[in-house]
Amino acid sequence: MPDRIYPSQPESVYFYGTCLVDLFYPDAGMAGIELLKREGLQVIFPQDQSCCGQPAYNSGYREEARAVVRSQLALFSKPIPIIVPSGSCASMMRNRFPDLFEGDPDESKAVALSGRVFELTEFLVHVLEVDLVDLGPPVNVTWHGSCSMQREMGLREEPRQLLQQLNQVQLTPLERERECCGFGGTFSVKLPEISSAMAKDKADDVRRTGAQILISGDCGCMMNIKGTLEQDGAPVTAKHIAQFLWERTHESG
């Protein structure tokens, strides 16, 4: 992946909630918005947004994916960054939109949009260069960097850099940090036996770290690992990195 050239801090940005955050982890979405606002940005959340099209695209239903993405293109027309609190949705928008619209009348729109997409931690580190002040009690956490975040977006150090700014947070890495957790979208229901075996291995890895909280930047993986830990009655909770960062760094109430 060529090194990306980052813009200087803009005045305003779009926030792309993603469908999983929208339905299952809205607090993580709000936390992402708050983190951006605290840096003095105006955050715009187009209410007509829905989904990046990835579920259909990854399942081989490209026409359906294209129709949904087309409806999204019009909602983000200002030339400002689009911030996505998910490695896999960010990658879909950044890496696959151009191909999906190759030769299509909307191709230039899709290409332009994809160039403005940033994953949240990427944006916090490289564009906003945030300095975080930890206000929370000591805690032991571990980090699951999703496959799309690590390998498709090339974001390995960014989330870690943010977590390491929090001086009361002890970050214990997973033993097999780079191995997939077995989620894979519809893979988890189409090939549940393999998916479960992978999730189980990942959950065991999490337990071995002794962490109280598993942090991730992708809700699919989080749901998968957390669901497995919960089923086993493991005393570990899971949190999206946006929510964790926000909760640790703002004065509540």
């Binding site: 929208d22 959340f45 209410q47 829905s50 989904c51 099209g53 081989g60 239903y61 090939l191």
Partner: protein, 474 residues
């Protein structure tokens, strides 16, 4: 014949604790060895880019290079045969053997001969074909398929191999000492090398310019198979051609370092002719069988042709979290793992093996290590789209064969909900209110909830929260 089914086989394999242990240990070792070979990321990046460009360049001019290869081989005295299908290739081999009056043959390791099911074919013709690569020899004894393209018997541990050899080889004692096991096999094989009428081998790279067949191996059995018998028959897929001799060193380096973490293999054979007058050894005749079997069709697709850049190093399977857990046999294909998931459906058709492209989490671990940078994930996605194509109008064999009416209906419903902001907002609110009532024991959710708690919808969507907290809409 019942349809091969990855999910069924994989779900059995994943429960086999011994098998999973064998693979995990072996793959961990291989990943470590590769990593030790590529400690300089810049060098790795440059070499892989070079590997990619050499292979792409070869494929871009495939017909021309194949003609050149044929001419060069002929000039060197190597006889060249073209085979459209595996049946043609088998028949060609048989005809050569008949001509030469050959009844027995020894084989070096060759994935193309597996693709041809050559052993099966020859057996039916009354020809004795013995695998001489130690791993291949063991699976031949066991009557199994290779479970890995570089290490065919990786699914068995030493104890399991010892047991098999004790049972199948007369007079062989039970021993778990790897050296002793090798000696037992070596004794059997030595005999055969001297007696065999013909030798069959694969080809790792064929150089068009010089008519040189390159063969990479570690045991010396490849050299024996190609030099001791009077006749040598090399079988190769047409994609293995490269243009220049200087294309070989970078590919060789990528191959051995990616495959087994070796800087170079123990043997590297460059075969450029039969025995020449005055030479004391080497076969009297060398034949090259060039197999197409669907490869021309793959090359004609600008995106999918990247599949054929593969140099069969096996790194993609060594690094695959799915392969590691289910092993090679679950794929029920000659070539397992990530490359198998894209190659097999293209060769056999999506109607037969359209299940394979879906058996992946798309984690990209393979793409990260592939020495010729095949975009395996993008090709898996393309093949998924081909499998579910509404028109089936494509050069990909079996396009549209996997399209399922119910699933198509689901996705068109999904489309309707997500392509309209209004509809999405109202339906997502309904889900927030009532989604948690959906029972977890029903498919497809039941696959999920067997080992995980059910995901819980939040009581309000992010859309609702953002609106309430005054986040502007535009």
């Amino acid at each position: 014949m019942s349809q091969a089914d990855f999910r069924g086989a994989a779900s059995v394999a994943v429960g086999d604790v011994q098998l999973r242990g064998n693979f995990r240990r072996a793959m961990d070792g291989l990943m470590e060895k590769r990593a030790a070979q590529f400690t300089d990321a810049d060098e790795e990046g440059r070499l892989r880019a070079l590997g990619e460009s050499i292979r792409s360049r070869s494929l871009a001019r495939l017909p021309e290079l194949l003609e050149k290869l044929e001419a060069s081989c002929k000039r060197n005295g190597i006889q060249v045969h073209w085979a459209e299908t595996t049946a043609d290739a088998n028949q060609t081999v048989m005809d050569i053997l008949k001509n030469r009056g050959a009844r027995t043959l020894v084989k070096g390791k060759s994935m193309v001969s597996e693709e041809m099911e050559l052993n099966h074919f020859l057996e039916a013709e009354g020809i004795e074909a013995l695998e001489s690569d130690l791993g291949e020899y063991i699976i031949q004894l066991a009557g199994e398929m290779p479970s890995h393209i570089v290490m065919p018997v990786i699914h068995r541990n030493t104890g399991q191999i010892a047991e098999l050899m004790e049972q199948k080889i007369e007079g062989a004692p039970y021993t778990e000492d790897a050296d002793e096991l090798c000696q037992i096999a070596r004794k059997v094989l030595r005999e055969k090398f001297y007696r065999a009428d013909a030798g069959v081998s694969g080809v790792n790279f064929a150089v068009a310019e010089t008519g040189t067949l390159c063969l990479v191996e570690n045991e010396g059995n490849g050299r024996m198979s190609t030099t001791a018998p009077r006749t040598h028959i090399a079988v190769m897929g047409i994609e293995k051609v490269v243009e220049h001799l200087q294309d070989v060193p970078p590919l060789l380096s990528l191959l051995t370092r990616s495959a087994t973490g070796q800087h170079i293999t123990t043997y590297f054979n460059m075969i450029s002719s039969p025995r020449r007058p005055g030479e004391v050894d080497g076969p009297e005749e060398v034949h090259l069988v060039l197999l197409d079997n669907g490869r021309s069709r793959i090359v004609s697709d600008p995106e999918l042709k990247a599949t054929l850049r593969c140099i069969r190093c096996g790194a993609c399977m060594n690094h695959c979290p799915v392969y590691t857990r289910v092993g090679g046999h679950a794929y029920q294909a000659v070539i397992p793992g990530p490359i198998g998931k894209i190659l097999t459906p293209q060769l056999q058709g999506l109607d037969e093996r359209g299940d394979l492209p879906f058996g992946s989490t798309l984690c990209n671990a393979c793409v990260e290590v592939c020495p010729v940078k095949i975009p395996i994930v993008e090709l898996l996605l393309r093949l998924r789209a081909e499998a579910n194509s509404p028109t089936g109008d494509s050069s990909v064999k079996g396009s549209g064969a996997k399209r399922d009416k119910t699933e198509a209906l689901l996705w068109s419903g999904w489309q309707r909900m997500h392509a309209s902001g209004k509809l999405y907002n109202s339906l997502s609110r309904v889900l927030a209110k009532t989604g948690n009532l959906a029972p977890g024991f029903m498919p497809p959710l039941s696959g999920w909830t067997a080992t995980r708690t059910k995901p819980r919808f939040a009581s309000q969507t992010l859309h609702q929260l953002a609106r309430k907290r005054g986040v502007p809409d535009e």
